[in-house]
């Protein structure tokens, strides 16, 4: 298959320098048609710079990239016709109404008025802004702006949708609404390039993830692959009061290396992975050790990031808030 057919977004050794700062240090990307690709990294890692190059807003200092089969430098206009872009700071004219902005966006993309009006109604409905469509954007909440931003990016049914931190600063409900819409769009065949600093977002939405730090990609794969590369899940057992913790720990250590836990519980990294849980439970039962509760934590993307960079991601708590995962991937 040709590059255009198979990979709507390709970057080869893509670089960008700002004076002495190397913002992006030669990254390679190959994003398949119809996937949601998550570009995860902390603030200042080079996410937005990469997106700006891919969306023709910034010239690369080196390397090359193509989007929808067109070179981002030599065929910038063709790229612009093929992409939808929702940039980080939902930069929307506060003096215009949602409907007016959609109409303007349609004109800029050369969509005939007859089609644009119908499409505008459909899009406003899709992002739940029908009632607010004739209000000025200045009166919108943060979540409404992002939803309008998404609608604007969709007016010309783009082949590739770039979402630069679409939910940063949003409340959980608004974030859920955006996620749902992104999933819907993707199920209709739109390829989505999503940058985020939230692991949970990357984890829940993206089929494949690249972690960028300091301008370089430090890890890439499906969320499950990345986590599997970290290794074993952690099994944590809470014991009823009065239970012999030492005995419990001694037993558990047969199945893996111990992990520090608060008093009243013991934990190990399960060497054999999640499939060992049944064996451990049997062992505990045979040894007559009572168990109050049992939790299996899969490695998180934060662990992946930590392993790759030695640091923790901002908002790492958000992801662990999701609670212990007993899902085995």
């Amino acid at each position: 298959m040709t590059e255009k057919g198979a990979y709507p977004v390709v970057a080869e050794n893509l670089q960008r320098r700002f004076k002495d700062v190397e913002a992006v240090r030669g990254i390679d990307l190959q994003i398949s048609r119809g996937e949601i690709f998550g570009f995860l990294g902390p603030n200042g890692a080079g996410k937005s710079t990469t997106v700006r190059m891919l969306t023709t807003l910034l010239l690369p200092s080196g390397g090359r990239a193509s989007v929808a089969g067109y070179d981002v430098v030599k065929e910038a206009d063709a790229v612009r016709r093929s992409i939808g872009v929702a940039l980080q700071d939902a930069a929307i004219d506060p003096l215009m109404t949602g409907r007016e902005l959609i109409r303007l966006q349609a004109v800029l993309h050369g969509i005939p008025r007859s089609q644009a009006d119908g499409k505008g109604v459909e899009l406003l409905d899709r992002v739940g802004l029908t009632a607010a469509g004739d209000r000025r954007v200045g009166t919108y909440s943060g979540g409404m702006r992002r939803r309008l931003d998404l609608a604007l990016a969709l007016i010309h049914t783009p082949e590739v949708l770039f979402l630069d931190e679409p939910t940063t600063g949003l409340d959980p409900n608004s974030r859920q609404a955006i996620w749902e819409e992104v999933r819907n769009l993707n199920s209709e065949g739109t390829t989505v390039f999503l940058t985020t600093q939230y692991m949970e977002e990357a984890d829940r939405l993206a089929g494949r993830i690249a972690i960028i730090d300091n301008g370089s990609i430090v890890a890439e794969g499906t969320p499950a692959q990345l986590k599997a590369a970290i290794g074993e899940p952690t099994l944590q057992i809470s014991l009823p009061e009065g239970t012999d913790e030492v005995a419990a720990e001694a037993l558990l250590m047969k199945y893996g290396d111990p992990v520090d836990t608060p008093p009243g519980s013991v934990a190990v990294r399960l060497k054999g992975g999640a499939s060992q849980v049944a064996t451990v439970i049997r062992g505990l039962d045979e040894a007559n050790i009572q168990v109050e509760s049992l939790e299996l934590h899969n490695p998180t993307l934060d662990d992946v990031f930590h392993k790759a960079t030695g640091r923790r991601l901002e908002g790492a708590e958000d992801a662990t808030d999701a609670g212990p995962s007993i899902q085995v991937s």
Partner: protein, 260 residues
């Protein structure tokens, strides 16, 4: 020029006019300050028209109204630059250039806004002044002619302020250029006839193209319609517009080259 480019021109012009209409607070200074100057000077200098050598006017108001219109146009045109700077600061500019928008429409839209504002303001000033007994010798044609000069210089200075916005991307920088306009205006024959000036001030005012433009507009009000005078006025405004468009085109190119 393709139909799509014309549609881009129309859509972005509409947007910049809407910008002005929807934040009336932003144009209130460009309406009130020139009117205040008009009121003050017409009253304080009422008897100056009796000086030998003063143009044959029936009131200082009649002498001053053209200056008021040009002053309003100059003040109002700053809006084009500060709205452009706001677009850059807020990111709307990026949103625009991430679409296949014709690049020139980004400028045309802004200048159309200034032009329309300059034209409409001129008639507001004529309207207010006529309540106080203004007589325009050139009649409706004269008023339209003066308004067109005002609108053209508004677009010209608007283009210069857009160029500053594109170079700096900062609203403060655009607003900082505002006093400069004042200086040009004060060093012209806007507030007093050149026939009564002398010394270095007269030389400076004579060198200042704004003097000749204002005098051309004033001629329509005091003496009646005069095509050759009008052509002088509109040519000066047009030359400033051409200069502004060249400057802002270069500035747009520089900004896009840095980004795109």
């Amino acid at each position: 020029m393709t139909a799509i480019v014309l549609e881009h021109y129309a859509a972005l012009s509409r947007r910049s006019i809407m910008n002005i209409v929807r934040q009336p607070i932003a144009i209130i200074p460009s309406l009130t300050f020139p009117l205040l100057f008009l009121a003050l000077n017409s009253s304080a200098l009422a008897r100056a028209i009796e000086l030998p050598g003063f143009p044959p006017v029936d009131s200082f108001l009649q002498f001053m109204i053209s200056s008021t219109i040009i002053q309003g146009a100059l003040f109002g045109s700053i809006a084009a630059g500060s709205d452009m700077a706001k677009d850059i600061e807020g990111g709307f500019f990026d949103r625009l250039i991430a679409t296949p928008v014709s690049r020139s429409s980004i400028l045309v839209g802004r200048l159309a806004g200034s032009f329309v504002l300059g034209f409409v303001q001129a008639f507001i000033f004529f309207g207010v002044a006529s309540l106080f007994g203004l007589n325009v010798a050139g009649g409706l044609l004269g008023m339209v002619g003066v308004a067109l000069i005002g609108a053209t210089i508004a677009a010209g200075v608007g283009a210069i302020s857009v160029a500053i916005a594109l170079r700096t991307g900062s609203t403060e920088a655009v607003q900082g250029s505002f006093p400069l306009i004042f200086v040009f205006l004060f060093l012209s024959s806007a507030f007093f006839p050149r026939s009564l000036m002398h010394g270095w001030f007269k030389s400076v005012a004579t060198l200042n193209p704004l003097s000749h433009m204002i005098e051309a507009a004033r001629h329509q009000v005091i003496y009646g319609w005069d095509t050759s005078q009008w052509l002088t006025g509109i040519s000066i405004a047009g030359a400033i517009l051409v200069g502004g468009v060249v400057a802002s085109s270069f500035a747009l190119r520089a900004r896009l080259a840095e980004k795109v």
